[in-house]
Amino acid sequence: MTDDLYTRLAWLPSAPADFAVTCKAIGSLLEPGCAVRDMALHALDQNQLTRLGRTITRLHAEGRSLAPLEKFRLGLIGNGTLDLLAPVLVATAARYGLALECVQAGYGQMTQQALDPDSLINASRPNAVLLAIDYRALPLSVTPGDPATESADIEGALALLKSVRDGLQRNSGATIIVPTLAPPPEALFGSLDCVVPGTLRRVIARLNDAIIASIDGSHELVLDVERLAQTVGLGTWHSPALWNMAKLPFDDSCLAIYADHVMRLLSAARGRSRKCLILDLDNTVWGGVIGDDGLEGIKIAQGDATGEAHLAVQRLALELRSRGIVLAVSSKNTDAIARTAFRDHPDMLLREEHFAVFQANWNDKAANIKAIAQELSLGLDAMVFLDDNPAERALVRQLLPQVAVPELPEDPAWYARTLSAAGYFESVAFSSEDRARAGMYEANAARSALKVQAGDLDTYLATLMMEIWFAPFDRVGRNRISQLINKSNQFNLTTRRYSEAEVAAAEEDPTVFTLQVRLSDRFGDNGMISVIVCRPGAARDWHIDVWLMSCRVLGRKVELAVLGELVHCARAAGIEFLIGTYRPTEKNGIVENHYAQLGFSQLAAESDGTTVWSLPTTTAIPAVPMIVHGSSPHAYPPALKRKARSH
């Protein structure tokens, strides 16, 4: 069971019986991108993935478009045979919305490929490079009882890795994926290996710690291969037969799960991880059906195997919430009855206040999930839906293919592990804002409830007691700023992405005007919710290169407050006109009329839908329903205000 879960990607629906035929037909489709992605969303084995990967590569070679998949080039460097891995990676990438092209270095050419600026990998200008290496790529020796050699080996291995990583960084500019190393299962002494210096067990453990500590957060991602190999079992992972025969760095049965781990990491780095877990209630959050069995009849207590299985689901949901994943309920139930479990059952870990949205009704689940997404201002592709009922899962998968719906085994004991194994919430950074996020969304849901009661918008906004803070970019905000710049899709005028280095450059350039904007209200701190970058134009102009805002604070006149601050600062700098550009994308339709609504006049419209707007800085900006703290060096919110609402 456990082997199957990971190596067979058991959370994905099984492959269609006509896989081979469908795969063959893909090439003749007019728009093969969607079909490729649908296919990749199944639990394909390594042979099927290889086949799909080759199909994709063939379409690439023929110059066919794979839209809506986005192009991505990955360099592959390793000390073993990568030929089996490449097509599996290509197919798996489609699962994550990427049209992947793999550039593969020759066998054992790690250092040359990294250091030579004209090497195959560097010259291909990859978006990312995967170091698909194992412990055999590094000069490690077994010297039991010799701590000096152990340390020297670790330093040597780190130095080699560093020269490779620096070389790639310098010559390709790509994001580098650095693995931890899976130790081989062969022991020298036995349990004593973890004690005696110079055993591979010790050398690799220490080296892994050093690798993790050396990761440069702005250019590198760590891929925890050690953990993955241990999860599937080191004895399964390392196949001496395949290494001897073909220099395969790990068993071919692990190709699919390895590729999935690589792609979920890359996907997270591109801001595509999921943000919200929607839970069914009956037989998912507790055992039994509360409408039939009553409050006393449902199984959720310690000491009952079924009850403990569902408690594990609740515990995982709470842990996810503590790292910023928003929780919601979608259940076919009478609202009042469903809520009694959360209010009155002493053994429940989850409580009503942990959920940002609670949809217990008799509507179909797809409609409910759409309503939840709307209420939270999150895309459907940010949602995960957990439900024990295969029919509900199938319905949601069919109607809302963007929502991730894990398959679940019959036994609820495996629910929590299956959800976790799917890696939907993979993330490449964790900030204090992430920790507070779930609370912010709940406060937001409370705000919308208030909005309904308050009736007229201005009255409502006044009751929020908002305070807004403006500040130029700085070191402290840098991480969150680049997170917002790279993740915001909807309220984003230009969708220009900046690397963290480019954010730092804007921060330091005196000719560039930057703003980070924070907002608090009586429900709590919303954290950083808007980012602006203006660059000097030809005359006395500022060109607004970035204007984005978190959709959490839509409809609260924050944009108007931002404009007020912009005009104020521009005027102080002797600027006469603000020039704004709207570049349409699939996702930013909500800001199409942003500049028109703010009183800008249109200068130009291009054939791709891009529009250019201008506003004289002499324009008077109306007052806003919030307290404004302008951007002076001391304008940060006091620490007290930064503290998020806690439960």
Partner: protein, 80 residues
């Protein structure tokens, strides 16, 4: 033996991505354009998985044609 061949036929078509391959006892790597060392490994892995058998490197390295592969599979398979 017939069953082994019909299963092999399917595996060959899958691995070499070529529906026109006809598997006969006399078929050799020289007869199939795509049959290089890498695809040989993929073929052996696919055969091992499909028939639930394991080969040693020596056994798979010395095969002369598909007939020998089929015989090897027959010898390894648990008696029916």
């Amino acid at each position: 033996m017939d069953q082994i061949f019909s299963k092999l036929q399917q595996l060959f078509q899958d691995v070499f991505d070529d529906d026109s391959i006809v598997v006969t006892p006399g078929l050799t790597a020289a007869d199939v354009a795509e049959w290089d060392s890498l695809n040989h490994i993929r073929l052996i892995l696919a055969v091992e998985k499909a028939f639930k058998v394991k080969f040693t490197a020596a056994q798979t390295g010395n095969l002369k044609n598909v007939g020998e592969l089929a015989a090897l599979i027959r010898d390894k398979m648990p008696a029916a």
